[in-house]
Symmetry: C2
Subunit: 216 residues, 2 copies
DNA sequence: CTAATATTGTAACGATGGGTATGAAAATGC
DNA sequence: GCATTTTCATACCCATCGTTACAATATTAG
């Protein structure tokens, strides 16, 4: 947290915390998208002026890429932690989806996922954004796959789809929760979708899936 | 197709077909998103000049809303037709996903779904766009639900989730195919996701889902 | 304290954004 | 043919866009 490292950098020090500013920038892009957010939006969101933003992070595009990366790393870390600490695949999925819905439905109207709500329009003509979007999807797939593989190895209740395939379904549900949240869907509707997905993936062979849905 | 109706409208007739122009406008928005597409992009995509566009369709926002509506109606009509004509739920889902992937992966890089790739960034601060996005999601849910309900009534192979819930999963897979296509995923990867989803939803109780996946 | 270095605030740059005024052109009604 | 009505083409309007000079300020090295 302290910028006085060995030697110390010469010249006037920055008057802001870069991580915090990046978070505020992400918030602004989250609301307006990349093209829909102007530099002035960013300056008023961060309290910084233009030269400070450019000096610390580069131009608007570089700034956006950095927020995409930061969001992915933070999101994957949180998701992995939730899944790892959950006693079963079922509760792990439930907890991940619950956390996602809380984020996607937060603030004014539904915000959805930062990456999948703002990156797609740019991804078609911007290879760097496309790579970030792909990396986020791949990361989510791998995150779910690891937990599903563990569940199958432990003999937990689980679909007999290969872990890689079931994981992609789990990610697909996140994609849909994001789009639906952005469309204004209620938290109740989002939770219902999530629970249906859990009942398909963390499926209990003996009992029917419909039974498992009742104790939600 | 002929504009000479009873009485005929006075004044100089339009030199373009409105449906065709709307299609070209949609193409432009599909590539660049709403904020990322300028009026000049639209004029060069349609061959019309600005006053003609404004006179026939209104401003940029109205134009975008109309393309969203047109896309939804065309997409739902095609999807319903495919599902209705399919002999089983399984083949119906496969055909719908195949058609979707062909559209989503078309042109240069993957374009994804027009609505879910371009509407989300605007939906947060634009109620009209949000309504269009929600209507598209609701339409897809209803489309799948009708076919799944019919399959269950006919005693077809099918998950025992309620049709409304299974339908939302089916729509979720479309959402994910769109995001992944936009991220540059291969057609092969998209087809694999679709097939996994079909194996979960149009599930054959006797055989395992893993078996059904092999003949893809 | 002095010199060197980095950040800050103000202001401006050229380019492009969405939207429109203004006539010329092309059709119909009498 | 003549008046009327609608569309088409050129050009323009002002606002905002992303980006950057420039000079003042604040800090460290010596």
């Amino acid at each position: 947290m302290d910028q006085k490292e060995s030697g110390g950098r010469r010249g006037r020090p920055r008057s802001f915390d870069e991580q915090e500013v990046l978070q505020q920038v992400q918030e602004a892009f989250w609301k307006g998208g990349f093209e829909g957010t102007s530099i002035e939006d960013l300056t008023s969101a961060t309290g910084l002026n233009r030269p400070s933003l450019y000096g610390a992070f580069g131009d608007k595009h570089a700034l956006y890429i950095q927020t995409l990366r930061q969001y992915r790393e933070a999101t994957l870390a949180r998701g992995r932690k939730i899944l790892d600490e959950a006693p079963t695949l079922r509760t792990g999925l439930e907890d991940v989806y619950r956390a996602a819905i809380r984020i996607y439905s937060g603030h004014e109207e539904g915000r959805g996922c930062f990456v999948s709500s703002t990156a797609p329009p740019e991804a078609l003509h911007d290879a760097a954004v496309r790579r970030e979007l792909a990396a986020t999807n791949d990361g989510l797939d791998a995150m779910f796959e690891a937990r599903i593989a563990r569940a199958q190895a432990d003999g937990e209740a689980c679909t007999d789809l290969p872990p890689s395939e079931a994981a992609r379904i789990a990610t697909a549900v996140l994609h849909s929760l994001s789009v639906r949240a952005r469309a204004g869907a209620s938290r109740r509707a989002l939770h219902a979708l999530a629970q249906s997905a859990v009942n398909l993936i963390a499926w209990t062979p003996g009992e029917g899936a419909a039974d498992a849905a009742e104790d939600a």
